[in-house]
Symmetry: none
């Protein structure tokens, strides 16, 4: 495991540029005719890169552990995912552009459907439209500005999702989810998991009661489920740790939020991979570390849609020459975790990883996929070690000891 | 990471013999026509050994970290390089062959240039010649033999560099560098970073004042900068940790010093590899662990002299049958860190590593180089794990648990 403090003491500010391209969930299992999505895809450009790169496989957290997006990304950003843990509520809030203060307790929330017997019949309220969501959030916010002196801030997200921030003194983490987790069960309140969270539980549950009252006439979105209660962790920034001036190019709130948490500048971009790569080009002079997040590869994996996952990979392949044209000193292409179509979700399988730089031992790997990366010169390693390696290959790390 | 205490509890004293041959900086990048020095060299003997060995690649400290000789060697000797850190002053002193005592506070020093306004205009005094350095060190030493009862020992190094040892009771580490770090700033004195170092700071600063007075007429070398204040660390010996009776065969002071720090007996030897191997033969009965250090491979790497690095490797190859003839129970050939000619310095790239013993699973590697070692049976591992492995293959480690 990399020793954060030592890396910090060795980091140098230089002109060299690092591009970290994360194709979310790109790693796969043999999901169709014995092939993974990377094996099935036609990826001449990625394969050509692999032939010039040093390859390997990374474990996001440790062998057998399936990570969420939080720990998987923190690792890639060089943060020990066991040491730094981020609550879901905080991630969601940051992703919606909410500025959190140290007094904030954040939670992810859903609209849901409650029947007359007090049973949740739909945890997503029929996936109400994003417009309805915004309207309902406004109605709630107008009626509920505070609970027992604690400010309540409600921010709509997409479809049925929104975020509630409780802002006040003495709020604490350590709360169970106010979510029955499955339809057919009664509305659930949060419970404090430690004494310090008792005040928070009381306020949250009072909010749930009042919100349900306010939403009474808005079937199917007539109640709320809150979960992932969390305060913002204190993370050192990538500038503090690695002397980088980092920027993030991502389309989804979650990834922007993660990047923001480690001090990246979030660049305005469009919805497509092409637009993301254009954003990279247009901002290339201003930063020395770029994290580019591609969501599609993961989304289709989550859907179990192998064919579309293959197509998403092929789109990355087609566009990647635009990144190469910028001639970054270090280019890494990898995933944050695997999302095999076969499993329709994240998995514990290691990520194919390739690194290009002037200062590598090019290995014999000629194709960018799971099976070939096993033979790569980097071997199999913890994703948290990737950032120090990128810094080294960009000549951004001094010698340790004499 | 190896658990030192566990290894210690398992170590056995036996008759078996281990030879650790360290070709300093042998690992390379493709520095010339796509080849590393090991790939370009004609090394029939090393390749024959590789075919009978189990191979792998070691990371001296961790991925991406370029180690100095200190941490790189400590790792190979079985000492966690994060746990055991050796101050720069001590390493520099070891490099000059200075015998340190527990009362010594060592520091690296430079001659520098001070202008009339008290500003440092050149931190290296125009890189004065090694001869001038020796002359000026003598002048200072003659005038300053002690400061407030603390002995001062001045030893010239190369160009503008020298070492000052403060020898006396009550000296302590925890001092800021007396070095402005950049030209254009005023002369800087050391500051105690903890109360226990107050006495040391006072003495060091008085030394700097007096040295500057002595050097007044020796422009451009008219002041001194001191940094890396350190006392010799207390390391458990290899005998204490591993029940070994170890000997070191090295030509350079730095490596003899490092070996001495871990309790090795330093054997008298000549300047050539041949003489080093003769020393091994002549002392073979008396010890059970031999560390042989070959410097040339690193020196030519540091110079960026690929052709000579290749020749140095070929010289090792030609002579290695003399080591094999002794039939050590365990023979390891590896580097401490890589020194690619391309980078003209140490690097973070892993070391090719091969281990011969009766008790190995010989792998399919038939050539001793960076690319082939990737495919070796040992995989890629932390150098600190090499020593336990050597002990095991020499049947010097008991079973852990029942």
């Amino acid at each position: 495991m990399v020793e954060e403090e030592i890396i910090k003491s060795l980091a140098l500010k230089t002109e060299s540029k690092i591009v970290l391209l994360v194709a979310d969930g790109i790693g796969d299992l043999p999901s169709y005719q014995g092939q993974t999505a990377l094996e099935a895809a036609s990826i001449p450009n990625l394969n050509k890169l692999a032939a010039q790169a040093v390859c390997g496989l990374t474990d996001p957290v440790s062998r057998g552990i399936t990570p969420g997006s939080g720990p998987a990304h923190l690792s890639l950003f060089g943060y020990d995912p066991f040491k730094y843990q981020i609550g879901r509520g905080v991630l969601e809030a940051l992703g919606l552009g909410i500025e959190l203060t140290p007094n904030d307790l954040a939670s992810r929330a859903n609209f849901a459907t409650l029947n007359e017997e007090g049973i949740i019949t739909d945890r997503r309220a029929g996936r109400v439209s994003t417009e309805t969501n915004a309207k309902l959030c406004k109605i709630m916010q107008d009626k509920i500005k505070e609970v027992e002196g604690v400010k309540v801030l409600i921010t709509p997200g997409k479809e049925h999702r929104f975020v509630v921030i409780f802002r006040g003194e003495g709020l604490a983490e350590g709360l169970s989810d106010a979510d029955p987790q499955a339809a057919g069960k009664p509305l659930k309140f949060t419970e404090p998991l430690q004494p310090v969270a008792q005040k928070s539980a009381k306020i949250i549950n009072e909010f749930i009661r009042r919100a349900t009252e306010v939403l009474r006439d808005y079937y199917p979105a007539n109640t709320v489920l809150l979960r992932g209660f969390a305060k913002q962790p204190k993370l050192p920034t990538m500038k503090e740790l690695f002397k980088l001036t980092p920027a993030a190019i991502a389309t989804y709130p979650m990834y922007k939020g993660l990047a923001k948490l480690v001090g990246m500048e979030i660049l305005k971009t469009g919805e497509s991979i092409e637009e993301e790569f254009n954003t990279l080009r247009d901002n290339y002079e201003k930063y020395d570390f770029f994290y580019i997040h591609i969501k599609k590869t993961d989304s289709y994996g989550e859907d179990g849609n192998f064919a579309e996952k293959v197509k998403a990979i092929e789109e990355v392949d087609k566009l990647i020459p635009r990144v190469i044209d910028l001639k970054p000193d270090v280019l890494v292409v990898t995933g944050d975790h695997s999302t095999p179509a076969l499993l329709k979700g994240h998995s514990w399988h290691p990520n194919p990883f390739m690194l290009l730089s002037k200062y590598i031992r090019v290995d014999e790997v000629k194709k960018f996929n799971e099976k070939e990366c096993i033979k790569g010169g980097l071997g199999r390693f913890a994703a948290v070690e990737a950032l120090p390696l990128m810094l080294a290959c960009a000549l951004k790390l001094q010698k340790y000891g004499a």
